[in-house]
């Protein structure tokens, strides 16, 4: 992380703000200064930041400070609420109203991730019991059609292509094809284009007119900077978009573009893309995005990710154990198996607020091959050894190494790392407890 999160910054500001009662203009200004910087560093558009902060200032000055909160914390609460509100409040679901086949058109700049998103979206809809059809309307970029075909094959969704025909013709033919083949949702994957390319924008308008497009969805890269505003405005003006999908959220971009896009178009953000796996599309939660933009960690997403892949009880148990010293090698083994579904440990840890404060956490890096080796080592241990690694002496180490097909040093290394991460997890647990006690943590849940 290049930029410290807002939370660590504001802790500095909080120190200076100890007063009680009504929020004074001075309190508000001091806190909002940090908020402005946080938003700009998260790539929220300059003008959007300015308008937003002005609005918050009006609301915050004179507000009664809640019991148990410092004035600074109260300002942040207001900021977070307003930010969530601005991004649409609650998560929005896709709702198809006309008669099938429902047509959804993806559009956006080059490289924003339309084709990958098309595949994920199709998979998502299929899980909901739909019968989607993917349609290749990018006739310009070399091998774009082939790319969609490969993506379709991977997710097991049919792909309709008509070579390099006019995209309007392709869309019409796809509709016929869908009717004949009982596909109830059509996803049009269109070519990447610049918002100022009037010719190509006219092509999208023509598609929209020719087949009844129910959802025109703009795909936006979460790493987009100040220009997100211009892009979104132009696409919306030309096509009257219905919603936005934000991609590449698995990186470390704070994603201020989400706020910019929402502020200028007023259209909801429907999904977030979190990686290259086909399941990596998630319903967009404005409250979580608000926390992310402000740099406050993303505890809720973490919890939900875990819940989707583990069953509830096990998730809770594991969560508790991870944060205490009771974590055993057996848990570790199970955890690793689950982790493949959840994503890499370093990414998960980054979602925890306060995690950036723990020294050594940044150095935890996990790679897949090593994971397999670790699994082999643990599997070569007896149950007793997994529960009580301290009993593993020299001869046990040799046996385990032989069983796993690794060197004794690898076993030593694993045991050492395990002990270290145990310590780290314990620290994290303490941190969370402390945060809860101060009431700060609960604010952002």
């Amino acid at each position: 992380m290049i930029f410290e999160g807002l939370s660590s910054r504001l802790q500095e500001t909080f120190k200076r703000l100890k007063g009680r009662g009504k929020l004074t203009e001075k309190d508000v200004k001091a806190a909002l200064r940090e908020v402005k910087l946080a938003l700009l560093e998260a790539d929220v558009n300059y003008k959007v930041v300015r308008d937003f902060v002005k609005k918050v200032q009006e609301r915050a000055v004179g507000a009664e400070v809640m019991e148990s909160l410092t004035p600074g914390q109260h300002v942040v609460k207001i900021v977070r609420d307003e930010l969530t509100e601005l991004m649409g409040g609650k998560a929005v679901q896709l709702r198809f109203e006309s008669s099938p086949p429902h047509i959804l058109m993806l559009c956006g700049l080059q490289g924003s991730g339309k084709t990958t998103t098309a595949g994920k979206l199709a998979k998502h809809l299929q899980k909901q019991g739909r019968r989607p059809l993917l349609v290749a309307c990018d006739i310009y970029r070399p091998a774009a059609i082939k790319q969609l075909q490969v993506v379709g094959e991977k997710v097991g969704i049919p792909v309709f292509t008509l070579g390099e025909e006019d995209p309007v013709v392709i869309a019409k033919a796809a509709k016929e094809h869908a009717l004949e083949n009982n596909n109830d949702v059509i996803i049009l994957d269109t070519a990447g284009r610049l918002h100022i390319d009037t010719e190509l924008m006219a092509e999208l308008q023509a598609i929209k007119e020719a087949v009844k497009v129910e959802y025109t969805v703009l795909v936006v890269d979460a790493m987009t900077g100040q220009d997100a505003v211009t892009v979104a405005e132009e696409f919306d003006q030309a096509l009257n978009i219905d919603g936005v999908i934000l991609t590449k959220l698995d990186g470390d971009a704070r994603g201020g573009a989400a706020l910019s896009v929402r502020a200028v178009t007023g259209k909801p953000i429907l999904f977030g893309g979190f990686g290259e796996k086909t399941e990596a599309l998630e319903v967009f939660h404005p409250d979580r995005m608000a926390s992310r933009i402000l740099g406050m960690g993303d505890v809720l997403t973490l919890i939900e990710k875990a819940e989707a892949n583990l069953d509830q009880q096990r998730a809770e148990e594991m969560g508790k154990r991870i944060l205490t010293a009771e974590f055993t090698l057996e848990d570790f083994l199970e955890y690793m198996a689950q982790m493949r579904k959840m994503g890499p440990l370093d990414e998960i840890l980054q979602m925890l607020p306060g995690a950036n404060k723990i020294r050594g956490l940044k150095n935890i890096k996990v790679d897949e091959k090593q994971l397999k080796r670790i699994e082999a080592i643990i599997q070569s241990m007896t149950l007793e050894e997994r529960r009580r690694p301290e009993i593993i002496d020299g001869s046990r180490r040799r046996r385990i190494a032989a069983g796993a097909g690794v060197k004794v040093q690898d076993v030593n290394k694993l045991l050492k790392q395990f002990n270290e991460s145990k310590k780290l997890m314990k620290q994290l647990g303490l941190l969370e407890k402390k945060a809860k006690k101060s009431g700060f943590f609960s604010l952002f849940k």
């Binding site: 560093e41 300059y46 991730g113 070399p142 091998a143 490969v150 900077g225 590449k248 290259e276 091959k369």
Partner: protein, 313 residues
């Protein structure tokens, strides 16, 4: 240093409201218009300049630093005319970005160029355009399709190979990219190619295992030909905001970046973050991408880039 920044920040934002009143309806005119009919240097002018820099994606830190330098120079050089502010700012920006760089040329044997970057920045397109450009100059070019991950990336590069009359070395989709790179270098050596361009898969800089893979590709290229790769170009999308800095830092940890290609400058994005990136990595920007046509890769020019940063539509 940090203290100074904090002070600058306070100054920046306390006046934000009044200072930006004039930009409320969009920055319509060119920056020069700001100074017309106004000869005195006011606080407002500094703030307007900061706003312009931030809106060009230079980043808050770089913008504040630049304007701070500007203030110091105005004081030290006893500058009185508002008009001169932009000149000085442009000078400072050019200094920050540095001279543009030329593509490396290995005097003995083929020059190996590796193209890297996050997903969707335009690596394959840039590699293809670079091949076209080099073939046009009379070079014999070989392409290595080391993006074995993204669906149809190999086919995409093959089409560019046909367009630019460069041959393509490829394996199956999903195969080891380092092996492809190795074969490409071997083939280039035996065929007497002038340039060997290796296209790699897009990867987020935060994905440790993929960054290690990149490191390995670089290593394997070096094994196939000592001294190679001679050039490792990081492709940055001009639409990208602050995250480009994080990309630059983490990519250069994995492989030694020698230059930058800034793509998609034909849109409305200013690509200002490249100033911070070039400054951080201390590597030159070598090319810019201006579209999808084979001719749309141009040598970078610091002067016109800086001029464009200040242009408003």
């Amino acid at each position: 240093m940090w203290g100074l920044m904090e002070i600058a920040r306070v100054g920046f934002f306390s006046k934000l409201k009044e200072g930006l009143a004039k930009t409320r309806n969009g920055l319509v005119a060119k920056i020069e218009n700001l100074f017309q009919g106004q000869s005195e240097i006011t606080e407002e002018l500094y703030e307007d300049l900061e706003a312009i820099l931030v809106q060009a994606d230079l980043g808050v830190d770089a913008a504040l630093n630049l304007v701070e330098t500007l203030r110091e120079r105005v004081k030290a050089e006893r500058i009185k005319e508002a008009r001169r502010l932009t000149e000085i700012l442009k000078e400072e920006l050019k200094e920050l970005i540095g001279e543009p760089g030329k593509l490396a040329k290995n005097p003995e044997g083929p020059t190996v160029v590796m193209v890297v970057g996050v997903n969707g920045t335009g690596k394959t397109t840039s590699t293809g355009k670079l091949a076209y450009h080099l073939v046009g100059e009379g070079n014999k070019v070989l392409l290595g399709a080391a993006d074995t991950f993204r669906a149809a990336a190999i086919e995409q590069l093959e089409i560019w190979g046909e367009r630019s009359r460069a041959s393509v070395i490829k394996h199956q989709m999903g195969s080891d990219p380092a092996a492809v790179a190795y074969d490409a270098v071997q083939a280039g050596l035996s065929r007497g190619s002038d340039y060997i361009l290796i296209d790699t898969a897009g990867r987020l800089h935060t994905q440790t295992n993929l960054m290690q893979e990149l490191e390995k590709i670089g290593r394997v290229i070096g094994r196939a030909m000592p001294g190679a790769p001679h050039e490792i170009l990081l492709v940055i999308d001009a639409t990208t905001g602050q995250n480009a800095l994080s990309q630059a830092k983490l990519f250069s940890k994995a492989v030694p970046i020698t230059g930058i290609i800034l793509t998609k400058l034909d849109g409305t994005a200013k690509g200002g973050i490249v100033a911070a990136v070039a400054d951080t990595l201390k590597v030159p920007v070598k090319f810019i991408g201006l579209g999808e046509g084979p001719d749309d890769l141009k040598p970078f020019d610091t002067d016109s880039f800086v001029e464009a940063l200040f242009e408003r539509d």
